[in-house]
Amino acid sequence: MSKEYETVIGLEVHVELATKTKIFCGCSTAFGGAPNTHTCPVCTGMPGSLPVLNKQVVEYAAAVGIATGCTINRFCRFDRKNYFYPDNPQNYQISQLYLPICQNGGISIETPEGGKKTVGIHEIHMEEDAGKLVHDEWGEASLVDFNRSGVPLIEIVSEPDMRSAEEVIAYLEKLRLIIQYLGASDCKLNEGSMRADVNLSVREKGSSEFGTRTETKNLNSFKAIARAIANERERQIDIIESGEKVVQETRRWDDTKEYSYPMRSKEDAQDYRYFPEPDLVPVIISDEWFNEIKAKQPELRDEKMVRYKEQYGLPDYDIDIITANKKLADIFEETVSLGSSPKKVSNWLMVETMYLLKEKGMEPDKVTFSPANLAKLIKLTDERVINGNVAKEVFEKIFDEDIDPEAYVKENGLMSVSDEGELKAVIEKVIAANPKSVEDINSGKLKAMGFLVGQTMKEMKGKADPASVNKILKELLGI
């Protein structure tokens, strides 16, 4: 390749909001019901039915807009986007084109080079999701389930500010955390509650003109997004290098074949003939309502990161891991508020909790143990009632069943032995049984100490207090 090319990427991200009901009717949004059990005349587009807007949708959309630095349009309304497709029962989707709820925002991301940059947000609008089409493997037909029809979405449209797959993923991760912190959505790519369409074009490095872009859909993981970006960049460069022109089109990514193909033919011209939705009245967000929404905004991750450093003096590494998930951050703060040392709480979350999550293939959101029990466990170790190894065992019980560690330690006799007399007798026995190690220590190989401590712990069935064992051992060996 003789010329150098730059990739220009903008994203359209759809997020399913965490409301209990659909955007325009009182049907449940619960995931996984039997087909069409969460439907009514409104969300199946029956003639004569009328939509009524769910207030919570406006509040979530405005909250996301505020958190991403957008201007909230105090006067907004809905528009009809007309198209025929079997998953769209009304033959139009209610969306926002002319006056979306949020505009002109942006979020700051870290670039792979270690710098910071702002990815602009062109707009955020509210709209309804479509139903689900299932292809009937046995017959020449498709089946439609309208449970998802009318589930509220926000579409977050970025500016074409990203230049690599790394930047795209940094942007998506940041966006996902903001929305999760707000509680506006769980943002799961694999379950479709967060979906990203990639608009991509290439241009010669240094050029200020944009090339012709394509839109790639059906990207269900960060890995698929990265692969699709690399693939589409190469495809477009090949076309340009061979002297041809990139066609503006929508492409569908096939992650198993790792290739995309054009989705819509000329017969399906994308001409949506938008017009103002006559069945819905405008939304006016008064100062009072706006301030109410603003007052409800929780502390977001960036603010938390600064505070954790200032207030708790945690290392950046710890802060990064703990605040990467709101659930972990909540547990951290509650446990610290019960009097535990911030660094000790952080260690339990970062090391043991992360280990157990990985071991059990769980998401951090699914953690169920109570901060009170973690605080009690830390107190037991602080007071040297139990030693570190026992604490790890007890923690696993807390993680699994949220047991009360005080009661559990008592019931199972896990208290450490720090009684000098009892320990001394055992250590003397260990020294007598291991003359080789004693010789090593005497000749300066202090590593052998560890072996003797280990043997003592074994004799004590893990219940000795390590500090006391060390002290007595040193005394007996005269070092």
Partner: protein, 108 residues
């Protein structure tokens, strides 16, 4: 079908081309015969002429209207009010299978 009767002297200002009628047919998923296409071209032309009349009005300084009623902020609270009504809903389906609407085979 002719919505807007005009005198014999009337000359349509909006001429609908063959390409346009073809395109509108695609968008509306309609297949028209040659005769129907000619009639539709005439109808659409006269409709557009009629609407062009609005352009004769001076609307500078008039706020664009977003809704015919002077009301706003009509909301529902986020509370589930509908139960499982799938039996009734599916009774509208021309064909049903496994609790779903059956449609012609469709690919994304």
């Amino acid at each position: 079908m002719n919505f807007f009767k005009q005198g014999d002297f009337y000359i349509m200002a909006n001429i609908i081309s063959d390409e346009t009628i073809e395109y509108v047919g695609i968008l509306a998923k309609l297949e028209l015969s040659e005769d129907e296409k000619e009639q539709a071209k005439k109808d659409m032309g006269s409709m557009l002429d009629y609407i062009d009349k609005l352009g004769e009005l001076d609307t500078s300084g008039v706020e664009p209207m977003s809704h015919v009623f002077p009301v706003n902020n009509i909301f529902r609270e986020d509370v589930v009010t509908n139960g499982d009504d799938s039996r009734n809903i599916l009774s509208n389906a021309p064909e049903e299978k496994d609790g779903s609407f059956v449609v012609p085979k469709t690919f994304d």
